[in-house]
């Protein structure tokens, strides 16, 4: 194949492609995340895949996971495992009427955290939460909640321990009237419906992408309850990670029941059945 040894100057298009692909290779060779933007067609995708395998095959040591990553993921899995187990258990039923806060969220104070039975055993979570709540409280978005989820005929149901919901985590809960998630968005506790507003499928939490994801059609909701991978945000923020396309429709935000923190517990205002 004499063609293979032909090193005459390439045409401009090939020069540009080679230049672009070198950016891709440069990222691969330093073990960083390459940009899919530097790959423009199916052939180049095959080349990218081969380059990835080449890079990985050369040195067995590069394939060894970072111990810090392994440890962090273990903690996340432990929390997720505990959260799932909590949903399987029947929740304590504690009727009562109380003054609900006006918004479907509550910002944790240090007193609530420390006075609420959050002990040294929850060291990792306590450190993280403590850091998050020291941020200034101003500037956070306030919800313009629509119709009240539950009127007067409701009660505060304890659904999770604050210690089990460190920042960036979500725990599934069920009351007789409501399926939801308690989420911790940078120190702010919220309750969100666990039901996709498209066709009613049950959402699941994806810790690595910090979203509530629908298994039926790939809608993702963020911790404010809004659709996170719709075309509006797609245009503003670029591709939603892991999705090849924007979610094709706009969807209403997830319902948000009122929530409060008391005695180290997260309580959600829910309806009597």
């Amino acid at each position: 194949m004499p063609d293979d040894r032909d090193l005459r100057p390439a045409d401009r298009a090939e020069d540009a492609a080679a230049e672009r692909f070198e950016r891709y290779l440069e990222a691969v060779l330093r073990d960083g995340r390459p940009s899919p933007e530097d790959v423009t067609d199916g052939d180049e995708a095959e080349m990218a895949r081969l380059a990835a395998e080449l890079h990985a095959a050369v040195d067995p040591e590069t394939g060894t996971p970072d111990p810090a990553f392994v440890d962090q993921l273990r903690v996340r899995m432990r929390q997720a495992d505990a959260g799932i187990a909590a949903v399987r258990q029947p929740l304590p039923y504690r009727p009562g009427v109380a003054d609900a806060p006006p918004h479907g969220r509550v910002r944790l104070t240090r007193r609530q955290l420390l006075g609420g039975g959050l002990v040294a055993g929850a060291g990792i979570a306590a450190g993280a939460v403590g850091a998050a709540i020291l941020r200034p409280a101003g500037g956070s978005t306030s919800f313009t909640g629509g119709t009240e989820l539950v009127g007067d005929n409701g009660f505060w149901a304890p659904v999770a321990a604050v210690a089990d919901v460190p920042p960036g985590s979500a725990i599934r809960f069920s009351t007789a009237a409501f399926d939801g998630f308690v989420v911790n968005d940078h120190g702010e506790i919220r309750a969100l419906s666990a039901i996709c507003t498209h066709m009613g499928c049950a959402l699941h939490f994806r810790p690595e992408w910090q979203d509530l994801r629908c298994p039926c059609h790939p809608a993702s909701f963020d911790f404010s309850g809004a659709l996170a991978n719709g075309s509006d945000r797609w245009r503003a923020n670029g591709a939603y990670r892991g999705d090849a396309q924007a979610y094709p429709a706009s969807l209403p935000a997830l319902a948000r029941p009122r929530v409060k923190v008391e005695g180290g517990q997260v309580l959600v205002w829910t309806a009597q059945v």
Binding site: L54, H55, V70, A85
Partner: protein, 172 residues
């Protein structure tokens, strides 16, 4: 909120996280993406895996989910709708029947790379060896080959394209 399965799940995690990561890394080739996909696999495991199954079945389940996540990665990021699992990991047995995860020595991804390199014309093999095996920069590679930097980039581009075509399901 103590879970009876908590200890068991962590046992599974500790037994499998390193081999699963390595399996994924060998097919993804960079740390950030390999970490993301590993986290995805274990997140699905914590939600869906029946921890009372036997160890062999658990390993099979984890590798199958990893394989799908890897395929999804290449599909989603590089628009490769036609990539089949057979193309993705040639030589890989259907996981349902595999008792043991693959040893690294006979890892199909590493073998595929070797086979492809062997079949490349001399100059193409050379440029890929310089960049990937000897970790040379473009400038060093160009000097070594006695060509301009621009030509070195074109050469490696052509070499990878050729190699990708060779590796494309036509393995002898």
């Amino acid at each position: 909120m103590e879970s009876p399965s908590r200890g068991r799940f962590e046992e599974i995690y500790d037994a499998h996280v390193v081999p699963i990561y390595r399996y994924i890394y060998a097919r993804i080739g960079n740390r950030p993406d390999a970490e993301d996909i590993t986290a995805q696999v274990f997140t699905r495991a914590v939600e869906q895996l029946d921890v009372t199954r036997e160890d062999g079945q658990i390993a099979s389940w984890l590798y199958r989910v990893s394989q799908n996540a890897i395929a999804d990665h290449w599909r989603a990021f590089y628009r490769l709708p036609l990539l089949t699992e057979a193309q993705l990991a040639p030589g890989w047995e259907p996981v349902a029947e595999a008792e043991q995860p693959p040893k690294r020595d006979d890892d199909p991804a590493a073998m595929r790379v070797e086979a492809v390199l062997r079949r490349l014309p001399e100059q193409y093999r050379r440029v890929l060896e310089l960049r990937f095996l000897q970790r040379m920069s473009v400038a060093e590679t160009a000097r070594e080959l006695g060509v301009s930097r621009g030509n070195a980039k074109v050469l490696q581009y052509r070499a990878l394209r050729k190699a990708a075509l060779l590796g494309d399901g036509s393995d002898a």
